[in-house]
Subunit: 156 residues, 4 copies
């Protein structure tokens, strides 16, 4: 059931034709998928790591899933936290992947906004239009000149 959910999430976020999508959408979508996988696997790994530790408070999967959410969002209430070496390694991975994902989403949003603003002011479009208009006008002047020359140099 879990792999099915993941496959669907990957398809939703990246699409079947994901290779044609712009880099920032693929990066933000891919990072979100990686974050969800890291949180789901990390919750399981942290329980395995904490098993048998004296003051372990991460003792069941639902608790560990809640811990991975508050860790990845960097809230960190302190109601649950790893106390063993490998548990803390898992925690560090969840933290770093979480922060990197928010950075990617923020950067992707900025890229989307900047692109929309540039379209809105139609900077490139304007430049194109102006250039093509100028070129057309100059060609018309050449046509007129050539007509003048063929008339002037014709059977006069």
């Amino acid at each position: 059931m879990l792999p099915g959910f993941l496959t669907r999430a990957v398809e939703l976020l990246l699409g079947r034709d994901g290779r044609n999508r712009p880099l920032h959408l693929r990066a933000a979508g891919g990072a979100t998928v990686v974050l969800v996988v890291v949180m789901l696997l990390g919750s399981w790994a942290v329980i395995v790591a904490e098993q048998g530790a004296a003051r372990a408070n991460l003792t069941s999967y639902p608790k560990a899933l809640w811990w991975s959410i508050e860790t990845a969002t960097t809230v960190g209430y302190g109601d649950f936290y790893p106390v063993t070496f490998w548990g803390r390694v898992v925690g560090a991975v969840v933290m770093v992947v979480g922060i990197t994902t928010y950075g990617m989403v923020t950067a992707a949003l900025a890229t989307w906004f900047v692109g929309r603003e540039q379209k809105r002011h139609r900077l490139a479009h304007h430049a194109h239009e102006l250039c093509e208009e100028t070129a057309r006008a100059l060609h018309e002047r050449f046509d007129r000149l050539e007509r003048m020359l063929t008339r002037g140099g014709g059977p006069d």
Copy 2:
């Protein structure tokens, strides 16, 4: 009173003619409004969810509002936190909406700054001016050529 406040906030942030505003302002303003609504409703929802739980510490609306502020900003002192399944679902929503809002505000600020820098260097403006100037000069050369031809090919 609350809906009145919200209506005013929406008007302030999005304006009556919000559809003409650039995307990044609408996105950042809209996300801020959604965050405020999620925090106000989440504070109420978390109390309902936590009611009757043995070790519940979120027991009144003012406490829950303070909890939603420190959760949305990802500070998370740990003085208040949900202990039930649905309370934690509400908490996860507040966290994710909070982080996404800061991402949107940061991205909107970046778009604003980048736009101001491009205006400052007047990149597009310069290119336009230069192009129009060049076109005008070339048209003047054509006028001069045509005057030369009509004189040369006239009653000589």
Copy 3:
């Protein structure tokens, strides 16, 4: 001593001729100054607000300053936190100003990086050079044409 330090910080960050600096530098610098002022004043305000509260843990200025640092950076260990209404209002202000400042600094860094990349690829510069070169070449062609016409239509 404190106002002297603040005046110097404002001068260092904004400069005497701050009005000529680009918006993103002024915004990031100004937000940093506002954050430092909010943290220094907030540390004092939170002690005043917490005075007399039964379970208050923010009882001295050094403690409150450390609390304002871990609050503004959204670390929030939970070793210190406000327990009164006005103390929490001060806390909320410190959190929001802190987050907004990091958003402004991140956006200013992005603007700086984007500007440097565009200079590096010399997009605008290239376009200018190409346009001027084309215009010069076309003017030379006109000069040659006119010389041909004046020779051809001269005393032949």
Copy 4:
């Protein structure tokens, strides 16, 4: 062993010919290296600072390293925190360096995404191509005009 690891990390992130790399990659890579150094040195410094304090909980290097990770990522569970003045100064440095690094990485990602989007739409490239094409067409018109004039003004 530690300096060797650091030298390798610097080489990996900045490269031997780091001066030719774009600013945003150097800034994000450099900030990451500085963050790792600050975390490794800060873990040692905070133990020295906390030594002998009555309620100190940062008592060994592994604990302090875990504390520096959760501090730099702004998670802050509250299982470990400094209680002395100099320990808190070290903590503040780790926090500020951590946040600045994430800001730099986010800004570098945004710059990378924006650059890729601009390449994708080939704004600058298009403008160049169009300009060169226009210039070539106008030169051909001049060639044709000159041939007409030399024929017309030749042995007629």
